[in-house]
Assembly symmetry: C2
Homo-oligomer: 253 residues x 2
């Protein structure tokens, strides 16, 4: 790394430092390498520790760095493109579905979910928990809410609890004709249970994808999927991932 002194730069110091650090990551470090400690880095660039920390936070937001307890700050690999099929007009659990069913519980859903599903307080809603792994890493956790009215014959099925029950719910869902689906993506923070599953701390930034499945003129199921924002790039469309990152070249433009 250079020894650029940043004292005289008019833009926010942490911002300029971030650009300089980002270039250093490209030229001097390889993926997975551990960065020098904060004190050494701050000294090297002639900035206060607080400024350094702000710059490191930025780089973490952008997916360039990973900070892990007990390991330190490492250079992150490029984000993984994870397809979020809006065009694929299929029910969850159909052929080619990449999600793994983990569990299924009948429980009162959160109020916002109940409102979207138009279920009453006494209606049973199955909550299917699923997880998604990409390249050996957990990338997303999903809660799929299915009102009993969407799977009326489920009660006749002698499905045990756990994954088998979850798969039974998904199988029953296929009986309905899917009329459409729409999704929304927003920034969120990982709940404690999702964080555990995603190997993150509670509150880590996540991308929350909410998908509504429409059948019989109503919302027949609702999925709330939580993707790791540090490692994932969500891809939409038919021709695969987009290989553009918000890398240092973009920052310097």
């Amino acid at each position: 790394m250079g020894t650029t002194q940043l004292e005289s730069v008019p833009e926010p110091k942490y911002w300029h430092l971030k650009t300089v650090l980002s270039e250093a990551l490209d030229s001097e470090f390889s993926v997975g390498e551990i960065l020098p400690n904060e004190r050494d880095l701050a000294a090297r660039f002639g900035v206060a520790r607080a400024t350094l920390r702000q710059a490191l936070e930025q780089l973490e937001l952008e997916g360039r760095l990973q900070r892990r307890r007990g390991v330190g700050t490492t250079v992150a690999p490029p984000r993984v493109g994870v397809a979020v099929g809006t065009e694929q007009q299929a029910w969850p659990g159909g052929a080619g579905d990449v999600w793994q069913a983990v569990d299924c519980t009948p429980a009162a859903p959160p109020a916002a979910v109940a409102a979207a599903l138009e279920t009453g307080p006494d209606d049973t809603v199955y909550t299917v928990r699923r997880s998604r792994v990409s390249q050996g890493q957990p990338v997303a956790a999903e809660l799929l809410y299915v009102p009993e009215s969407s799977v009326p014959e489920l009660s006749a099925i002698d499905a045990p609890s756990g994954p088998a029950r979850a798969r039974a719910v998904l199988r029953e869902l296929q009986r309905l004709e899917l009329e459409g689906r729409d999704s929304a993506v927003e920034l969120g923070s990982a709940r404690a249970d999702d964080a555990r599953e995603l190997d993150r701390l509670p509150g880590a930034p996540v991308l929350v994808v909410t998908t509504r499945f429409l059948a019989d003129g109503r919302t027949a199921a609702l999925s709330v999927a939580t993707y790791r924002a540090d490692t994932c790039r969500l891809t939409f469309g038919d021709s695969g991932g987009v290989e553009i990152h918000q890398g240092p070249e973009r920052q310097a433009s």
Copy 2:
């Protein structure tokens, strides 16, 4: 707000505090209202200021709070659903396009963009800057990269600089037959110029949507759009927005 003491709770304190605060926001505060200062809030919940700040940061990530310099911390309105049309197979600037052309400069694009466009170092690439406003608020800033080879007749057009030139580029683009488009969404931090346009500080969390437009068997244009992550929910699909938020009910599930 209650006076719950949080000292004895086993989960991370800021996490529990966040849930408590979130419930208080629902029951006691209205949108736009200014929260009490940090010292008073910390005292009320019996937590250290650092813990309180962590909880406030979480709520900001989730779009529940807004922190603005000179104003303080206010209760945020619900996020605005902003349609990001993956299904709408149209060029930028076509009928119904909600973006406003701001400027157009011929410049060497960032290296990652040049690689995606397969342009050489001496090829001209037009950078069209556009902005998007929703409900009177700036919600997104876009850089649309168009190589000269995609708009070969542009040089014959006597377009002045600025928005008129930008519109000329978009008009020329319509001559190509669009074969497909795909998009990716990822978390990023606002560059200084985007931040200014979006009325945010540099480094604020943003959702970066990269869209590739395909024509003549190659990438004919590339858009990098930066959406405010605090106020936007990006919607995909044909039936409008999804009215589910990652609200406190979800947190408590």
